[in-house]
């Protein structure tokens, strides 16, 4: 009679399978996207009938992805410009200064905020515009800035959470060292703790960038349209890649248009990857500056 497999071995095999599952799913997803999307990739996908060089110089593009790429870039840049300083500052406050009930209350509020579905955030933005129109600004309308604001609120909990965790997980010894060298608590945070927490903080920034780049529900309610062209002003309408994909996939008239949607999805993936890369480069540069160069 064969011996029964020990439960430890079974658990080990299960853990291996689960660990292999993640890259397998990623590869399957990527493979499928490449298979369906690559045939649709061409300059015409981006610029349609407009000559590419003219489009890069600002000529209007109809039926191409270019305005949507610019829209998504502008949206992510604006949303992170709002969310990152606010989120990092809140994370610092929570980790370093808040105590007792204030800390518990604030942490609870942030957990609640993290649980709000993005469509609600979109509705909130929409309601805000309606309120503004009825009260102080009758001309207020949905647009790029409103979308970016709502997206910023949506991604804020990620930035706060990772900043707080990164700071709280730093060894006590680092704080003691800072204090023993005569650094005030504020300077210890600014010159020792924050730089040491940089990798953690940047993982939150990447989460925020990825989430802001892909979200469709918020922008659907707050200013994205199918054919706005490149974003012209903070209050104007704009195009964005996730909405473009959604629109093409839902309303496609021909197989070619569906292929375009897959190609657009590939472009969105590549764009997000580029933004991650930029964040990574910035992180490395900041770290190098902290560890070797003298303080100005």
């Amino acid at each position: 009679m064969s011996k029964p497999v020990p439960p430890e071995k079974l658990a080990q095999a299960g853990a291996w399978l689960a660990a292999l599952g993640v890259p397998a799913i990623l590869l399957a997803l990527l493979g499928f996207l490449l298979w369906r999307g690559v045939p649709g990739l061409s300059l015409a996908l981006f610029f349609a009938d407009t000559p590419p060089l003219a489009a890069l110089r600002g000529a209007p593009v109809f039926d191409g992805l270019w305005p949507a790429c610019l829209g998504t870039l502008a949206l992510v840049a604006l949303a992170t410009a709002i969310a990152v300083p606010l989120g990092v500052a809140s994370g610092i406050y929570l980790a370093e200064y808040a105590t007792g009930r204030a800390k518990a209350l604030l942490a609870f509020a942030i957990d609640l905020l993290a649980g709000i579905p993005s469509i609600l955030m979109g509705l909130f933005g929409f309601a805000l515009i309606l309120f503004l129109r009825r009260t102080v600004a009758p001309d207020a309308n949905t647009g790029l800035l409103l979308s970016a604001l709502c997206l910023a609120v949506l991604v804020l909990p990620y930035v706060i959470g990772t900043t707080r965790l990164a700071l709280e997980n730093l060894p006590l010894q680092l704080r003691l060292t800072g204090a023993s060298l005569g650094l005030s608590p504020g300077r210890t945070v600014r010159h020792l703790l924050l730089p040491a927490a940089l990798p953690g903080i940047f993982s939150g920034v990447m989460l925020a960038v990825g989430r802001a780049a892909e979200d469709t529900a918020v922008i659907l309610m707050t200013g994205v349209v199918a054919n706005a062209g490149a974003p012209a002003s903070l209050t104007g309408k704009y195009e964005a890649l996730p909405f473009h994909i959604y629109y093409l996939a839902a309303e496609h008239q021909s197989p070619a248009e569906l292929t375009q949607a897959f190609a657009a999805a590939l472009v969105l993936l590549a764009l997000t990857g580029l933004m991650f890369l930029a964040a990574r480069v910035l992180q490395t540069r900041l770290e190098r500056q902290w560890t070797t160069e003298p303080t100005p």
Partner: protein, 259 residues
């Protein structure tokens, strides 16, 4: 028992009725003692007797730990000024800079060798790059580390050996020009050779600074001390007469009796 110096020769550190507790658990109770200016004072005692807490009470570092309550009085002679460590108006950052501390295990910052020294100089004293560089070199020479690191000042401090790291930490503290050095078992995590190097340094430094060293090592105290205190269970502090700690056998038997 009190150990007080006379009025003509004020103590570098004067501690009166010091009690420290963490989360309402008393660690030190009503301690009074005087650490004379200059020279090397050893503080011996069992693990858990409160030696480190006593050391950290002097530069108010206990306050950085949760649930700490301190009462009593500590006065420090820092250069020409006499500072009441726990007075509300005392600039605690300056106090910590001038009563510099070196910890048990080398706590280099995750920075380059040079930046370990220049960052505190630039941040706490606001020194410019040239002055930082000069002080860095001077401090590294003072701990005999300059020749070993001068060609790789930009390398991470963590790439140094344990003994080198501890000397770097000592240099970092010296660069801030302290008056008093508080050393918490500075050789405990080092091998024999590295520990000997630190000991030789302490013997040099005691000619220029007031040193208070917490240690487990009787032989270290025997070789280096100008004065030895023994702390019992956080509530009794005993000075050993010089005849006792200069004689190894006598020191051993005295400690067996006391601790």
């Amino acid at each position: 028992m009190d150990h007080r110096t006379d009025a003509l020769n004020p103590a570098a550190i004067r501690i009166r009725h010091l009690s420290v507790s963490f989360a309402n658990r008393p660690v030190l109770r009503d301690l009074s003692l005087d650490i004379p200016a200059g020279g090397l004072t050893f503080l011996l005692g069992r693990s858990g007797s409160g030696k480190t807490t006593l050391l950290r009470a002097i530069n108010r570092l206990n306050e950085c730990l949760p649930g700490c309550a301190t009462c009593g009085q500590i006065e420090l002679q820092l250069g020409a000024t006499r500072l009441d460590a726990y007075a509300p108006s005392t600039p605690v950052e300056e106090l910590r800079r001038r009563a510099g501390m070196v910890f048990q295990s080398p706590n280099v910052l995750p920075l380059s060798i040079a930046r370990n020294l220049s960052l505190p100089l630039a941040v706490t004293l606001g020194l410019g790059a040239a002055e930082c560089e000069a002080r860095t070199e001077q401090a590294l020479r003072e701990v005999h580390l300059w020749n070993e690191v001068k060609n790789r000042l930009g390398a991470p401090a963590a790439t140094l050996s344990g003994g080198q790291q501890q000397r770097l930490c000592l240099a970092r503290t010296l660069a801030l020009r302290p008056d008093i050095l508080l050393l918490d078992e500075p050789t405990a995590s080092l091998d024999f050779k590295a520990a000997r190097q630190i000991e030789e340094l302490l013997a040099e430094l005691k000619l220029r600074y007031t040193l208070l060293v917490v240690s487990h090592s009787l032989s270290q105290a025997h070789r280096l001390a100008d004065q030895v205190f023994v702390l019992h269970d956080g509530q009794r502090i005993e000075a050993l007469p010089e005849s006792t700690f200069r004689d190894k056998e006598a020191l051993m038997s005295a400690l067996d009796e006391l601790v």
